[in-house]
Symmetry: C2
Subunit: 540 residues, 2 copies
């Protein structure tokens, strides 16, 4: 099958194709090294600005849409992505080197996310409607009628990520949650998979048009993050930013947003070592099983998950030696894999080498095969060091994005806690322990809770469930704002702000706040959650 004969190679600005004239680039098949047709045209600064001006112009109309309209939009996008069928999967596979099975699963997750947000906004209670009706007789002063709900913040800039060409790119979680909230979206497509981005963007634009929404609700531009991306973040119409990628790039966007005349929030999910702590009882009882699980987790997707466990802490001794032997055996049999881009592979090899060269670090085991350079392969590697070295060398806690993990051996439980105490913010932290292990590890658990967004017990951090209780976020540098998640229904809260209506008659209130509760929402009335209408009818 030809990967995608119909690609045009242009940005999509409020339904219109971008113009030629600027620089062009091609996607590269990392598994074969071939540059893929067609040429992609970088958006001009004017096109980027126009995308945001059109988004701004669409803001009021889109903000006023009913939840049902936005639910239908999200479902139409999901259906459209499915209708792209093998064309999309083949192009994504060619651009990323990811296996078809993985991409098929990621597509299901992407469409599932879109439908989850559709369900959320169709039901509607996410707006957190609160009503405190007037108390005209209250002394010493009457209480006015006060009601509030969440409203969309305005245009959101979304950066496609390299490692999730579908689930965290053009119509991924950031876009889905922003559209669900009622915010127009401008996507900066990732340069590693522009064709995938174009296919999905066409689908989104068609769904926007089919709903009769202004085309400014969605645009996608191609270009460099450091120039075009920063320009988008600085544009006065931009109200918020969603980003998944490296710490350096995320921090640069955060800093650009904070330095604006009107600062805006950047939700950057950036960097996490996802430490795993193996307590002695668990190691004794399940060492081989843990080794197998860890191997699967740190090599999943060639180690290119934000939740990849990059640090493993254990108490030295016989059980840990057995665990390490089992892990080494597994690693030696593990295949090499193609990384997402030549740049990611180069960074991985450099970071891995830096860690292997560090004082006190030794290579423990590597995959047997020789990584094929022309396929941009990397092989899985485990290194080991001591807690003493780890504590003396903070650079050992820097991420190597790829199939590498570092096992840190402590003398005792106090050594484990000392290591936990120096960790920076993490998306996840994992503990393996028997009930007895865990009962004796209260300090360690507390230290990890202070540092992580998600604590995993006797499991592995990869595999992020998309559900209301999920939190995919964490203290800096895991993200730039630990109060928000980029996965799960709560992700919509990034793109909404409360608006309070005081003294409004029913007819001028949004439906969510009207007396009769016409949308049937769960609302908080005088501090009590209820789906009942407001009675008796308020005065004032």
């Amino acid at each position: 099958m030809s990967p995608s004969p119909s690609l045009h190679g242009f940005s999509l600005v409020a339904g219109d194709r971008g113009a030629p004239g600027g620089k062009t680039f091609r996607a590269v098949n990392p598994a074969g090294g071939a540059a893929l047709a067609p040429d992609f045209h970088e958006a001009s600064p004017e096109e980027a600005d126009r995308a945001l001006e059109r988004a701004h112009a669409a803001t009021a109309t889109f903000a006023r849409t009913a939840g049902e309209t936005r639910a239908t939009l999200l479902e139409a996008i999901a259906a459209g992505i499915e209708e792209l069928g093998e064309t999309l999967i083949a192009r994504a596979a060619a651009e990323t080197g990811l296996p078809v099975a993985r991409l098929t699963g990621e597509r299901a997750r992407t469409c599932g996310q879109l439908r989850l947000f559709a369900q959320l906004v169709r039901e509607g209670s996410w707006v957190d409607a609160r009503l405190d009706p007037a108390l005209p007789e209250r002394k010493p002063l009457p209480r006015p009628d006060v009601r509030r709900m969440l409203r969309p913040v305005g245009p959101v800039v979304v950066f496609g990520s390299s490692n999730f060409p579908l689930a965290f790119s053009t119509a991924g979680g950031d876009t889905a949650s922003a559209l669900a909230a009622g915010c127009p979206v401008v996507v900066k497509a990732h340069r590693a998979h522009p064709g995938t981005a174009e296919l999905v963007a066409g689908t989104v634009a068609r769904a926007v048009a089919a709903q009769g929404l202004p085309p400014g609700v969605f645009s996608q531009v191609h270009g460099e993050g450091a120039t075009l991306g920063v320009r988008l973040v600085r544009h006065p119409s931009t109200a918020a930013v969603g980003f998944t990628g490296s710490q350096a790039a995320g921090r640069a966007l955060h800093d650009a947003a904070a330095a604006r005349p009107r600062p805006i929030p950047v939700f950057a999910e950036m960097s996490s070592l996802n430490p795993v702590f193996l307590l002695p009882g668990a190691l004794r009882g399940r060492g081989a099983e843990i080794a197998a699980g860890l191997l699967a987790s740190f090599t999943l997707g060639v180690g290119q998950f934000c939740t990849k466990p990059g640090l493993v802490f254990a108490v030295r001794g016989e059980a840990n030696e057995a665990f390490l032997e089992a892990l080494a055996k597994g690693v030696r049999a593990a295949p090499c894999g193609t990384m997402l881009t030549p740049g990611i592979r180069a960074a991985f090899l450099a970071n891995q080498q830096r860690l292997l060269d560090a004082t006190g670090v030794t290579l423990w085991a590597g995959g047997a095969g020789e990584p094929a350079v022309e396929r941009h392969e990397a092989r899985p590697v485990v290194a080991r060091t001591t807690a003493e070295s780890f504590l003396a060398h903070p650079e050992l806690a820097e991420e190597a994005f790829g199939p590498f993990t570092l096992v840190v051996e402590a003398k005792d439980a106090a050594g484990l806690a000392a290591c936990a105490g120096v960790l920076a913010g993490q998306l996840t932290a994992t503990l393996h322990g028997t009930p007895e292990d865990l009962a004796g590890a209260a300090t360690l658990r507390q230290l990890l809770e202070e540092r992580a967004g998600r604590l995993v017990l006797n499991g592995f951090p990869t595999g992020v469930e998309v559900c209301p209780a999920m939190h995919h976020g964490g203290p800096y540098p895991a993200t730039t704002d630990s109060r928000f998640t980029s996965v799960g229904t709560a992700a919509i809260l990034r793109f909404a702000r409360p608006v309070c209506y005081q003294g409004f008659p029913d007819a001028l209130l949004p439906a969510a706040l009207q007396d009769a509760n016409p949308l049937g929402l769960l609302r908080v009335v005088e501090g009590r959650p209820t789906r009942e209408p407001l009675t008796p009818r308020r005065t004032g």
Copy 2:
């Protein structure tokens, strides 16, 4: 009555008095100009650091307290403030020049806020507990048990504000909501009312001790905002900042926090013109009533409220002339008032003069009396200009914090909308209109909704109700983060972040997330709100 014979004049660092040796200052009675005993000693940099180190050391213990413990703490603080009785009111009156009646009302609000947060955390559902129990049989992959709830972020630095010596200072809304969330607090006392701050801080520290909590839960330091305050914001242990004050100071704190190696959120409530739009039908029918309400609102507290209406927009014509005549008549009879500090008065006079000197602005009416310089008085002033001048001179939309308002006359409804379209972010925006006026003003309403945190209909923005539905916040520069409020129960959400627990047995989960729902919280189980326990018992 002697204002406060027992003041010691020192910072309070985790229960210990600060040391002498640094610079000292005295509060000044703005109504009399007298410097008030005793000398107040600025905290040394080491004392500021120690306050945060002790706060950090107390974080884990305080975070683990039950909601009941924190509720009792907040109630004890409220009771302690009431027990200070006239000593507190007299000192606050001497330091601020605010009338006793106003301060008595503010004390009631302060204690009411503390008790409202006590009620919130005693009930407990604010933690937004979400449970998605394991689905071990799910295909293709089992779902792990995933639960999340809000947990405290860590030490919060609170800046006392000049215009609310009780309700937004030492034990004001920021402190109350941070303590309610389980975060230790370090207050930077405002230099205008250090004695009031000391009295309240002593009460808080006694309540902390009485609850058996670590003294690091609360500290208060005296010093300069630009040096000591910024040092507190930059301290590595600080997790979040609450501030109410000027745009320049708030922005400086925001920028310092954003530039940290680990950026932290600053919730600064800074600057708002609180525009009021008078539509023609309302002016015709209620012009005199609106004039009286506006006069009361813009002169309340000598114009020193963050919700003071500083801009009034109306369509020129007969009804507006009648309104302006009524307003002028009222203003001419309005008394001068003592401003909070000599600095605030000087800034007000300069800003007012700048506005009066601006092209196209004319003085319309001023209070009759001559302001007494030795009492730091200001007199109420109304100026008028045209929409054309307003649109041509953006500096006319800069705040003059004090009893001044500018009436802007437009030719027609389109002129009103044009003015609304250039407004920056506001805490509030107000509309006066008949049902017919409002039906024809959809564009104007939309423009105001995009720019304000609270929309007031046929009322006035001063008087911020403390209730669940209140939102006291707004787009920049009203605040640095429009998604959060500093008044009302939702203020607690500034100081908490979600933590997710995956695969945890009941015994290791916080009570809020345990199967049996021992706290009786309203929780979201598989997306559905319920107070029921989780049954059947989850596997995994």
